[in-house]
Symmetry: C2
Subunit: 603 residues, 2 copies
């Protein structure tokens, strides 16, 4: 029957177990370009002197420095040209008193010469050369072995190899480099409800998300992801797949099916066939995380919720993989941020709080919380990382400094918008080159996000009184555009598909139909789809949505959308670019820009 997690391990204990489960490092040799981003496993010693000979650093003339003393623009020293030296060839000339040899960059300094005069400071008739600059011995000469001496350590074990270390390795003669092998990471998915993308969904089924987001995270962390066929909830099939993965890979990850219910096959497989090291962590999300071994291979069972799976991966697994690949923490995966508006959390256990990032007008990074347990996959793309909140903390104050553990690739967007989201905005945002994040929260929540210092701009359909009541006082309001709205389906029907409270369309609908029965959808598209599938009789949406669906439309009026810009973000590059994009946007069918629209729409 159901098993509960009465004894939860602390996150510190779980971290220790994760540390013990870190796969062993192994070493492989790879070619130079393939070594990019990898960690050097052994010292690289120079097999040759670099350079192997005294080398010219310029195109010019090899001379005896003393012959140029006193030379200048006005009084050049005239030397006899005795020949020339090319790069890559042993010199066939010697330079004697009052003589010079033409020399190319990289060519060996000929016997007798001790300096090079750059060509720009000379003039020649072919037989003699006028030198217009005095040089000192060793000028523009790189001595043999002065870069790296043969036998010297050029690169230390443990170095992360960028293009620059690869260049140095080439210089000292390495054709391949010994690097830590990428750990092979088996990714196993489970759950009868999951179907891989591309497959048809049966009733009650959804597409498998974690296999792909986890596999991509594995590769971000320097691992090689090996994705296994989906196995459902069958115990024997799961044992077979997990054993196959354990024998192929350095570590195996699963997601989902880790709760202590009798259907959750993953932890039973580890408990019965392998070694269950830990099940249940005082962590939210991540309580059902499983640590163990199967046939000696480390195993971690991640939770099934996509954002929880990535959060637990970030906290426990990412470091294991980076360590196995020979690297350390990647400091670019952490970022200090100030909390945009206060956060209250339930205490008593560690919380992994998903947050989004935004930069304020001064360039300070702010973090705001996203996804309060909604379970939505769209939250995935709104979170930039997590804040690890101690069990003793219930409250994080606005402005408090927190450390964000970033998800791979996350940076604050150039523009963070909130509020309404419609075809007009889309046509503006499409022209935008920078990275934009838009939270389709509806007008009220959008205005609040802006008021709370989260959003740079908001698209709202609210009266000034409503804004005042929300306490939005540090914003510039720009008259925007109007959108034609109305009904898809039967406006005389009984049940209406509508947006949630706080959306401009919902306010209008409620004014017009105060007594109607409604069903709430997160998007206009969802509401309109529900007409087609018969779940509702009519949906109250924008004309553009109806046009896009090729559905009949009964207009009911215009919904007016204005743009709010946070006072202190007016000069932010992303905001300036957004306002320019709005000005350049053409109104799609179903929209109009009124004559009184403010700068920047009719600037």
């Amino acid at each position: 029957m159901r098993k509960e997690f009465r004894d939860l391990a602390s996150t510190e204990e779980a971290a220790r177990v994760a540390d013990d489960l870190t796969p062993q490092r192994s070493v492989e040799r790879v070619d130079l370009v393939g070594a990019r981003g990898r960690t050097l496993a052994e010292d690289v010693k120079a097999s040759v002197d670099v350079p192997g000979f005294d080398r010219s650093l310029m195109d010019g003339y090899a001379v005896r420095a003393e012959d140029t003393y006193g030379a200048g623009e006005a009084e050049p020293a005239t030397l006899t040209v005795v020949g020339s030296v090319s790069a890559g060839e042993p010199p066939e000339v010697e330079v004697g008193e009052a003589e010079a040899a033409e020399i190319a960059t990289g060519a060996p300094i000929p016997e007798g010469a001790d300096a090079v005069v750059p060509v720009e400071r000379t003039e020649t008739d072919g037989n003699t050369v006028d030198v217009r600059k005095a040089v000192a011995p060793a000028d523009s000469v790189m001595f043999a072995g002065s870069d790296v001496a043969s036998g010297e350590v050029a690169l230390r074990a443990g170095t992360t190899l960028s293009q620059r270390e690869i260049g140095l390795a080439a210089a000292v003669g390495s054709e391949t480099l010994p690097v830590y092998a990428s750990p092979r990471v088996g990714v196993v998915s489970t759950g009868d409800e999951l179907v891989r993308p591309g497959g048809a969904l049966g009733e009650g089924q959804i597409h498998d998300v974690n296999t792909f987001s986890v596999a991509a995270s594995v590769e971000d962390a320097g691992g090689e992801a090996v994705v296994y066929d989906h196995v459902g909830d069958d115990y024997e099939a799961m044992v077979d797949t997990m054993r196959e993965a354990s024998s192929d890979c350095d570590i195996v990850l699963s997601s989902g099916s880790t709760s202590a219910s009798d259907e959750d096959v993953v932890y039973r497989v580890i408990e019965q066939e392998g070694e269950l090291l830990l099940h249940g962590v005082a962590l939210k999300p991540g309580r059902p995380t499983v640590f163990g071994k199967l046939d000696g291979t480390p195993f971690v069972g991640l939770p099934g919720n996509p954002i929880s799976a990535l959060s637990v991966f970030r906290v426990f697994v990412e470091g294991m993989l980076r360590d196995a690949a020979g690297g350390g923490e990647d400091e670019r995966l952490r970022r200090s941020a100030r909390v945009a508006d206060e956060v209250r959390v339930e205490g008593g256990r560690t919380r992994l709080l998903p947050v989004g990032l935004v930069e304020d007008g001064d360039g300070t990074t702010l973090a705001y919380s996203v996804d309060k347990g909604s379970g939505a996959t769209t939250s995935l793309t709104r979170a930039d990382g997590i804040v690890n909140v101690e069990p003793s903390t219930n409250y994080i104050d606005e402005g408090e400094l927190v450390e964000v553990e970033l998800f791979g690739g996350a940076t604050p967007p150039a523009l963070l918008g909130a509020g309404e989201r419609d075809g007009f905005l889309d046509s503006a945002l499409k022209q935008h080159k920078d990275d934009v994040r838009w939270l389709p929260t509806g007008s009220v929540a959008g205005a609040q996000r802006l008021r709370d210092g989260v959003a740079d701009v908001a698209a709202i359909g609210l009266s000034q009184e409503a804004l005042d009541a929300l306490g939005v006082d540090e914003a510039v309001r720009i008259r925007g555009y109007d959108r034609r709205v109305g009904y898809v389906g039967d406006p005389e029907g009984d049940v209406f598909g509508v947006l949630p409270d706080g959306y401009a369309l919902r306010e209008l609908f409620d004014e017009r139909n105060p007594e109607s029965e409604t069903r709430v959808f997160r998007s206009e598209r969802g509401a309109a789809n529900a007409v087609a599938s018969g779940k509702v009789d009519s949906a109250f949406v924008g004309e553009d949505v109806a046009l896009d669906l090729d559905a009949g439309f009964e207009p009911s009026g215009w919904s007016s959308v204005d743009i709010l810009v946070a006072e202190d973000r007016r000069d932010k590059d992303g905001v300036v670019a957004f306002l320019n994009s709005l000005r350049g946007a053409e109104e799609p069918d179903g929209y109009r820009v009124p004559d009184e629209a403010g700068e920047p729409l009719r600037g």
Copy 2:
């Protein structure tokens, strides 16, 4: 004959030409995991509602919310269990008044139920369940289509795909994604003096560096590097290779052979066989940069010096490749920094100043200049990026804010050391997990680097008077260790191999042999090698170097090395870890730690 660059283009003009040469974007479909880091070329619309049904967010019991009103820990509501619903299967039960159905996370909500009570708040005997919490309609339920409605745009064209967008794409049913293809970038190397690593060097030859550092940079920027066989300086061979690359690739890069000397074949090939668009930029380094086309394919000829090649790549080519791959600027490739100590530069043209990064005690990023035209490949691994200095600027003040264009993968090291570098330090640094950069500048330059706010710590063999004379006053001096030094080769010989001025060993040598003839080497290893090759009679080095070379050694005394720590960096994590590493280091043969050694060596 030689051609000079009398008419240099401005960097702005060069940037416009680079912009025009940006390869066309093309689109390809890739699988989900392979889409990581790529840029989405088309909008992705949901092919299904996500979720496709009303879905439980918890393990627990599906109930009619109204049946739980008033329930609590003290007074549970007792409901009849009428069956159970698993994830992935259509429900076979209906929930009526005072009834409940066991339900798993992700399972469809059965007919009649409108909320889920989490299992933790229930107790069951199999027939009935006690519910200890009141729930509201919709609690722990995710409604069909509420995440993404079928037909809605889930991901916008232009989005950079991280693991999170990949997860969302999976959720909406995408099996593959349309992304911009990586531009194919031909990398051609030229110059008779270059030999690929692995090949034997003839007289006057060196290993080819740029092919590998440029190819790795191409891949960093999202391109696919195609490396062609080395072709030397032969015109016809170069034409053949360049035509092959032009026909295979979206853009071709070369390095070296771009100066206006008659041996520089690359620009002649473009001038005679293709279309030379620009040759000569008012830029240092990068003056001989070539832009053009061959058979219609864009071409850029980079300078031959390795750090110059990467600098010009960073300024002109990186953006072209990122643009062709569909992405924008990567903001993580820029970093604001304050100049550590004043920089004076020659004005009149744009300078690309190679800089290293370090963090001060407060976490502020500082930039200091590296590689003043030394031509050394080791400089490659000491530069983190470049500062683009306007032609009108001659002077950058200490503390001035500059924007550093980073080379891929560059971050400030955890510890920046300078001064002496020897076997004892190596044995300490080996234990160090963090990223360390050590500038082997010798004692005097090391102390100056520390004084100037660049180095966190310095290893020095200098008297307190010498330090005072250098103006090093904000540092803690820790008594370190002694190193046995002496002669390899014939101490009675005529010519001695020595380190440059300012190194502890050189000071000692000069005291003992004030009148000797010397030849200067950058490293002890280099000096000792020169004994073996007969270039000098003897070298003055540490005993450990002699032991490593298995060379005879005539001891001459002990060189004393102390550690300086910059006052304001004492609490920096990297410094604390370094001092711990020093304390834990075992002295190699040829070293001793005296009894009077200070904390931390004998703490």
